[in-house]
Amino acid sequence: MSARGKHFLGVGLEIAVPIALLVIWGVLSAGSKTYYFPPLTDIFTAFKDNWLFERVSSDVVPSLTRMFAGFGIAIVVGISAGLLFGLSRRARIAADPILEFLRAIPPPALLPFAILVFGVGNGMKIFIIALVCLWPILLNTIDGVNSVDPTLRETAYMYGIPWRDRIWGVMLPAASPQIFAGIRTSLSLALILMVISEMVASTNGIGYFVLQSQRTFAIPEMWSGIFLLGILGYVFNAGFGLIEKRVLRWHRGARASALG
């Protein structure tokens, strides 16, 4: 087979296989009497009834608002603090054991702490999402700033670039590949913590809905919520991938030319 043919076959398979699996699921579950696995058509119906667009304003919007508020705070704080630690070697050495320890705590273990201090409202959820998302961004920023090529630093210093431009024009762009890697990790953490925090203490939100559906034995509804979370995870990931691809275009180009 030609390379071109192979390529098309590959792309075709990539699209066809997931669809085929979904169809198989649909066929196998049709008329299913198994309690946990309702017919796929029932799940679709529940999905349409709940998420198009009945519960968008009551559950989806509050969920995503909390998620992106926490995520946004983590980005701003993580990058700023990361710059600070990244630029000062001694601050980095001093902070290292504390950062390592805080990072090692499994995020959900901090949830009771957040509830204790902030109660069960939005503040708690935003706090816990921000706190957990902070570490990957912070540590990656430190790493990125720290490993900026010394020649670039010296070039900026030699030409007397004002410190503000040195931060915005040199340090941040040079560290951006690592910063983006950290943000990518945090994005999936944000979604996870959003769900957990809503499962543990909430009266609305997607996580609350999913767990509540299970408790009230509304199984197709539960599945529809799982589907929605899956779709959201996929969409956020893909959307972030597009942004990253655009912003870091120079990085891929530079690396490709360095390897070539």
Partner: protein, 262 residues
């Protein structure tokens, strides 16, 4: 850039000083009322509680349960992801067929499956292992696939020219050269497995540190809650160190490994 002339603290002292500083700060601030003591007990009291816990059998049972959930989750994930990853990764056609599926399933937050786990497995260890294994599986298989894709084609061709059969090539060439990636994958998967174990304990109420933390809070025993959070952190730290060390050992002979984002 100018060298400073005044005497400075030596570098090795800095981490100790900062740890000491944080401890003192969180001991003094609650005592003088800057932080509310009801929410932030002085750290010396918390550490005292933690020390007392070390001789309490329930504490060790909880640690044991959490470690069990973590280990079984990781084990199941590894038993599935490593062979599957190698199999899928070494066949171009198979890889293309499932890539779309993996890309679609991977970003699904595994915590979304908590209700399903409760439905099927109840609130015991089975649920914990299911969730931990599910989450760890994706971390691991992605790394295994990277590793298999990264095998030097020259090595494969050489093996082929020596007449090694396909299974032999998998065993002799593909597996060894993807070992560093598998090591990285195991480290990431270990962290995720622990996170999901604690989550399950917290949300579902399976026995373990997560459940104890949650109960300490609802019972109003704030010192115990902090002590257990610290204990969980130490557990996370220890597990991470073990895997970082193991990874370093494996990486020593493999320079091509890229830094993995954690």
């Amino acid at each position: 850039m100018a060298a400073s002339a005044r005497p400075r603290l030596p570098d090795w002292l800095l981490p100790w000083l900062s740890v000491l500083g944080v401890l003192v700060l969180f001991d003094v601030l609650p005592r003088i009322g800057v932080l509310p003591e009801a929410h932030f007990p002085p750290i010396s009291k918390t550490l005292g509680t933690l020390f007392d816990q070390l001789s309490v059998s329930e504490f060790w049972n909880a640690v044991g349960d959490t470690v069990q959930g973590w280990a079984l989750g990781l084990l199941v994930a590894a038993a599935l992801a490593i062979p599957l990853g190698i199999l899928i990764g070494s066949s171009g056609l198979l890889y293309r067929s499932v890539r779309g599926v993996i890309e679609f399933l991977r970003p699904i937050p595994s915590v979304a499956l908590i209700p399903l786990a409760i439905l099927i497995y109840g609130s015991g260890i089975k649920s914990v292992v299911f969730l931990a294994a599910f989450a760890a599986f994706w971390q691991l298989i992605v790394q295994v696939l990277y590793g298999v894709q990264d095998v030097d084609p020259v090595a494969t061709d050489t093996a082929r020219s020596f007449g090694l059969s396909r299974p032999q090539r998998l065993l002799r060439v593909t597996l060894p050269s993807s070992v560093p990636y598998i090591a990285t994958g195991l480290r990431l998967a270990s962290a995720v497995s622990l996170i999901l174990t604690v989550t399950a304990e917290l949300v579902i109420g399976s026995s373990g540190l997560g459940k104890e933390i949650s109960q300490a809070r609802s019972g109003g025993d704030v010192q115990l809650m902090y002590a257990l959070i610290i204990a969980t952190g130490v557990l996370g730290l220890v597990l991470n160190l073990v895997f970082v060390q193991a990874e370093r050992r494996v990486l020593r002979w493999h320079p091509s490994q890229r830094r993995a984002a954690t």
